[in-house]
Amino acid sequence: VRFPYKKLPNTQPRPYLNVVLRHGYKTSNIVMALVDSGADYPIFPMETAQCYLGLDLTLAEVWNFSGTSGLIQVAKLAEVSLAVLRPDGSQFCEISITCAFCDTFQMSGGVLLRGRMDFSPASRQPSTSQKAILRLNAGPSVERVVQLEIRLALAGRH
């Protein structure tokens, strides 16, 4: 599946994906998320966790992170489901993943997606049998596209 880069005002074209977060029966709106190969975790505004997913992060693991300025920001980690949508709006995949939620995170696009994610498709099967890698590569110089490649691990599938 190929995803076109998107150009917002005052920026260069960037790799955005439309995603939806889910926790139990609660879901977020569709959010345009920037793919960042350097991020340790996908980062979402705290509003997503509190207002949409109903997560109580009071006792959640704290994650300190920083960008190029070195200024430390604080986020809380939680396990949620993250669905990636195709350009036509249909669901491409849904993965279970640890996301960070931050009060002070300001980002054009609003959301950062980690560029490379190990994931298990949202199914009832054990993760060892369905383990897969979602790889997001910046497109070759000839095209500004994001390529998603899924490789299902063969281990445990024979």
């Binding site: 190929r2 995803f3 076109p4 880069y5 998107k6 150009k7 917002l8 005002p9 005052n10 920026t11 074209p13 960037r14 955005y16 439309n18 977020s28 709106n29 569709i30 959010v31 345009m32 920037l34 960042d36 190969s37 350097g38 991020a39 340790d40 980062i43 505004p45 509003e47 997503t48 207002c51 949409y52 992170f65 920083s66 960008g67 190029t68 709006g89 300001q106 980002m107 054009s108 696009g109 609003g110 959301v111 950062l112 560029g115 070759p140 000839v142 095209e143 500004r144 596209v145």
Partner: protein, 97 residues
Amino acid sequence: MKPNLRSALFPADSLIGGDMSEKKRVKQESTSVRDLSVLLKDTPAGAWVALSPDETRVLGFGNSMQAAAYRAQLEGEENPVLVKMPLPGEGLAAGVR
């Protein structure tokens, strides 16, 4: 020298010469940049914006995701696409660590 003999004798040539561009042509697809800058040109910097699911209409904006989504609901759209507008002159330098 014939091309096949040349590549047998000088395998590195196949990596830098014109042979590679002919043999391993990169597949071209019609995917291009989706330009939303015109659609979003009148929305405030830093605001959350609610777009129609096909990303062709601005349904509303606000200073939070919920505020933007509420504006979309008033327009009859329950499943908007939310995006946060970049600030003027804002660039990206590196990943978050």
